[in-house]
Symmetry: C2
Amino acid sequence: MKTDVYAKTCPSRQVLDRIGDAWSVLTVAALRDGSLRYTELAQRIPGVSPKMLTQTLRGLERDGLVTRTVHAVVPPRVDYALTALGRSLLGLCEALTDWAETHIVDVLDARAAYDSRS
Amino acid sequence: MKTDVYAKTCPSRQVLDRIGDAWSVLTVAALRDGSLRYTELAQRIPGVSPKMLTQTLRGLERDGLVTRTVHAVVPPRVDYALTALGRSLLGLCEALTDWAETHIVDVLDARAAYDSRS
């Protein structure tokens, strides 16, 4: 299949939307060291609502980036982990969070300058 | 400033939202070879509506990633180009589009398998 993110109908653009989602990037990067339970993930990503985290995990699972494993114990335990495909995206997600952390000051300065002009 | 994309109130998370936007990624990558006019950009990104392209460019300009230069000619000409900050993001945007183009087939397979289970 010939893929081109710039082609209007190419599904690779949908992947860009997934990667593009900040919660997805944070979730993938949070799983870098191995599998985590739902509650552990929620702690690693402060501010994410349960609804948003569930929705993000479902999207990542559907896209083949994350596995969801239900353990038959009482109380039930659910683990999430990166698949090989998800792991191939990990470097990019970390590079994105690094860029954001490094350059946010420049971005905030630029915003203040822009807003004072308009 | 100590930045942490995982901190609930850290503004670096907003940067992640900007990078995360697929139109922003496509626009930054489209400007890799130098400045382009609005109409040239619209042609490089098929499917983007004028409203969405204008909104994306305004966001990128506000964040200090893109410059907007109005030339005093008739008819008026407006050029867009990456700033140094925007250029520092270019490699990541290209890596993202590459990943999307390379792995979309895997993602589509995963989706089909997921949907057939649920």
